[in-house]
């Protein structure tokens, strides 16, 4: 193949790829807009006075904790204040090497409890189970280190409620989050999993473990992530949800039917993206067994989480996510283009594979190739302009539509200047930030191909953005 033929092929391949990508985004966007309007209208019934009847399904909150001695008390205290009539909190101390267990014992007056063994999912050895003498709905599992998935499996084993909610110890739930996220389970008994929205807590005002005022972070990296999360949750999840084709429920906040998770074998402990892998596996197994099921997304219960503010931590996080995506897709590849695969097998999985998994590789390669082709005069200015408009311009347009969607629905940020700031962040993140992400995701792909051992890396969560903000 001559160089000119290579560039000729490349220019069209990449242009068509980007057109297809943005057509998918556009379609998801359109579905999300219709869906969010419908949701807002339907759920204005929440105006009815909230009287609890006793028919509400009990929920077990599972909080895996590894070296969280600084934040675990505040997290559990905040969880104790949630508005829901029947829930228990199970903290799983995953072999912490700091004083996580001791601070829990001291603060909640924990006593060793002879819980009878009920191991339906295999986990690392449980050393002890504690029960709080202060709060009857708090239990703590002390176990050998086995990772987050293993901790969640241990929590599922001793959970007493038919629904469980996986919550990160460093995340903040809104007081009405459980009330809202449980709705799909009430409205449709075939619901087996529901995810809520995750937002960036950096910059927000926190009072007694709750976000009292949503602000935007000053840190530019965190600000880009706010725009990115908006796009991912408001139209990524909302777009797939009506088609029952959601492939990700964030590990930071999701509600699951316990028996359904046990039916599929619980969380997989040898994968780095256990949250996504579980959802894809649930789709695969429920489809295989021809069991009716629903996996859905509820936009208004919000979970606030801390975003990385430095490049190293962000890089680790993104590499981990990409590897998780790769493992989830590869270990459930049988679902893709399966006769019974439905929208998940025929649309969501191919989308994830071609646009999310292979996307970074194609995007970066495309940008470099077209730029080089243009520079060496193999690609005409018209084609180059067309390509870059599609590659960057459409991305920018879609990002700002996410801001519009937010403005049409929840108006989380009350300060008008924040909306303007967010709007511009949505534009700027397309130039540099997204490409950097693509680069990190390519590194992740390289690691997958070379079978480099996955590691969590150090997630720097010092909540520095929070210092001085905590209201008294």
């Amino acid at each position: 193949m001559t160089i000119s033929k290579f560039f000729l092929f490349s220019q069209w391949f990449f242009t068509i790829y980007f057109i297809a990508l943005h057509m998918c985004y556009l379609a998801l966007n359109a579905i999300a807009i219709v869906n969010i309007r419908k949701y807002m209208e339907q759920h204005s019934v929440n105006n009815l006075p909230n009287i609890y009847t006793g028919l509400e399904t009990p929920i077990s909150l599972l909080v895996p904790a590894f070296n969280e001695e600084l934040s675990i008390i505040d997290s559990v205290q905040a969880l104790l204040q949630l508005n829901y009539p029947d829930y228990e909190i199970i903290v799983i101390n995953d072999g912490s090497t700091d004083n996580t267990l001791q601070v829990l014992i001291d603060h909640f007056d924990l006593k060793v409890f002879p819980e009878a063994e009920y191991s339906r999912l295999k986990t690392k050895q449980i050393k002890r189970i504690y029960v709080s003498k202060k709060y009857s709905n708090i239990r703590v599992i002390d176990k050998l280190n086995g990772g987050k998935a293993d901790s969640l499996n241990a929590g599922i084993n001793i959970a007493r409620s038919p629904l469980f909610c996986a919550v990160d110890a460093d995340s903040i739930l809104q007081t009405n989050s459980l009330d809202r996220i449980v709705q799909p389970f009430i409205e449709d008994p075939t619901t087996i999993a529901a995810g809520g929205t995750v937002r960036i807590a950096n910059g927000c005002e926190i009072n007694k473990g709750f976000v009292t005022k949503a602000n935007l972070p000053h840190n530019p990296l965190a600000l880009m992530q706010v725009a990115e999360y908006l796009r991912a949750f408001l139209f990524g999840r909302l777009g797939w949800s009506p088609m029952n084709a959601i492939l990700i429920i964030s590990g930071a906040f999701g509600l699951f039917r316990k028996e359904a998770v046990i039916h599929v074998g619980g969380y997989k402990t040898d994968t780095i993206g256990e949250d996504m892998e579980l959802i894809v596996r649930m789709h695969r197994i429920f489809k295989r067994d021809k069991k009716p099921y629903r996996i859905t997304f509820v936009p208004d219960p919000i979970c606030w989480t801390e975003a990385p503010e430095d490049l190293k931590t962000l890089k680790n996080q993104r590499i981990r996510w990409q590897r998780g995506l790769s493992e989830s897709l590869m270990s459930n590849l049988g679902l893709m283009f399966n006769r019974n695969g439905g929208v998940v097998g025929w649309a969501a999985m191919p989308y994830m594979l071609f646009f999310e998994l292979l996307g970074p590789l194609i995007e970066l390669f495309g940008i470099i190739t077209v730029a080089l082709g243009f520079y060496f005069d193999y690609i005409s200015p018209g084609i180059a302009l067309l390509f870059f408009t599609i590659a960057f311009g459409f991305g920018m347009l879609l990002s700002v539509v996410a801001v519009l969607l937010e403005e049409m629905s929840f108006h989380i940020y009350s300060n008008p200047m924040y909306v303007v700031k967010l709007f511009f962040a949505s534009i700027i993140e397309n130039f540099g930030y997204r490409q950097l992400n693509s680069y990190w995701r390519m590194i992740a792909m390289y690691q997958v191909i070379t079978k480099k051992k996955a590691k969590w890396g150090n997630m720097t969560r010092n909540a520095s953005w929070q210092k001085g903000k905590e209201s008294k």
Partner: protein
């Protein structure tokens, strides 16, 4: 570079397309920006108007806690939706005589007329607000319209209309509309239970018990849940009948769940040997409620059941049986050969200590 797959690619044409596309994207982005700004301005205006309205009306409406305000400010038509929103939220917070005072104020201001108009809106949110308002105001004239909405297929609107009808005339709603409530298996059970709890009437239990006779499987499931939620005491005979005839294990579990009827003890004995673990579990719970010390051996046999929940509930029931002491339990534990039984007894004894 001149052709691709036989198509002639005029570079200038491509450039033109590229420029136009870029301009379109830029224009659309700017349009979205202005749209966002307009939405925010509207929101700010709405909030400003609401603040003004609240400053004027909240003190007046708050007076309703102690009586009917003598002088009412003029209600500007542009504030009517704000007023209805504020009135409904205050109605939800307050209770007793305040409700009567709030209704008097709303009638003076002819809010029911506006609320009736809201029912014919195409916007479900406005319709819903109208329904809630008419129910809270107990507007009898709205009955036919609300009844028709309560029969519609839209789940949220129909259930809200049903609740409004109950508020307007609970006796009539009970007699005329209970069959409909039973048939609506699409209504979330917890919402229906809320409405039934609001009615708080012995007659509800009687009607629900009657309805069990001819109910379909889905309806029966919901009916038993409602009966359990309302803690009806007049349904024991119906439950006995269901337990002796019913074949569906889920329905049987629901009947056993809150069973507190000593006359049903033979039925409990029968179900404690069920093949299904959840039937055994609920039978064990029922035995804890109505059994005596002579029934302990049945529960002891369940302590090494293959299912954890059956073992756990059996152990809990053992503790609840009259005249069963901790020493008795420790003796049972010592005599039992299975570790599962020993550990579950340890657990329930510890739970009792903690309690």
């Amino acid at each position: 570079m001149e052709s691709f797959l036989g198509y002639n690619l005029d570079s200038e044409l491509m450039l033109r397309i590229g420029v136009n596309l870029m301009l379109t994207v830029v224009v659309l982005t700017i349009a979205v920006f202005f749209f966002v700004i307009i939405l925010r301005i509207l929101l700010l205006y709405h909030n400003y108007r609401k603040e003004q309205f609240i400053a004027l009306w909240r003190p007046t409406l708050t007076e309703c806690i102690i009586g009917i305000p003598e002088k009412l400010p003029t209600l500007n038509q542009k504030y009517i939706h704000d007023f209805i929103g504020e009135w409904n939220s205050l109605y939800g917070i307050l209770g007793g005589i305040s409700h009567e005072n709030l209704i008097s104020v709303a009638i003076k201001l002819k809010i029911h007329v506006a609320a009736m108009m809201m029912l014919i809106s195409n916007h479900p949110k406005i319709q819903l607000t109208g329904i809630i308002t008419l129910g809270n105001m107990r507007v009898k004239q709205a009955w036919p319209m609300l009844e028709s909405i309560s029969k519609s297929e839209q789940v949220f609107l129909s259930i809200a209309a049903y609740r409004a009808l109950v508020l307007i005339d609970r006796e009539k709603a009970l007699v005329d509309l209970l069959p409909q409530l039973i048939k609506r298996t699409d209504w979330p059970a917890s919402m229906v239970a809320k409405i039934l709890k609001d009615i708080d009437n012995i007659k509800v239990c009687e009607l629900l018990a009657e309805a069990c006779e001819n109910a379909t499987q889905d309806q029966l499931e919901n009916l038993i849940q409602y009966i359990n939620t309302l803690k009806c005491t007049c349904t024991t005979e119906v439950f006995r009948k269901i337990l002796s005839k019913e074949k569906d294990d889920h329905i049987k579990s629901l009947c056993l769940k809150e069973l507190n009827d000593p006359l049903a003890i033979d039925l409990v004995y029968k179900h404690i040997a069920s093949q299904r673990w959840h039937v055994r579990m609920h039978a064990a719970v029922a035995l804890g409620n109505i059994g005596s010390k002579k029934d302990a051996y049945i529960l002891i046999n369940l302590l090494d059941d293959e299912h954890w929940w059956v073992r756990y509930r059996a152990a809990q029931s053992l503790i609840r049986i009259p005249f069963m002491s901790i020493d008795d339990l420790l003796e049972i534990k010592d005599k039992h050969k299975k570790n599962e039984a020993k550990s579950i007894i340890d657990q329930v004894i510890a739970e009792k200590d903690f309690a």
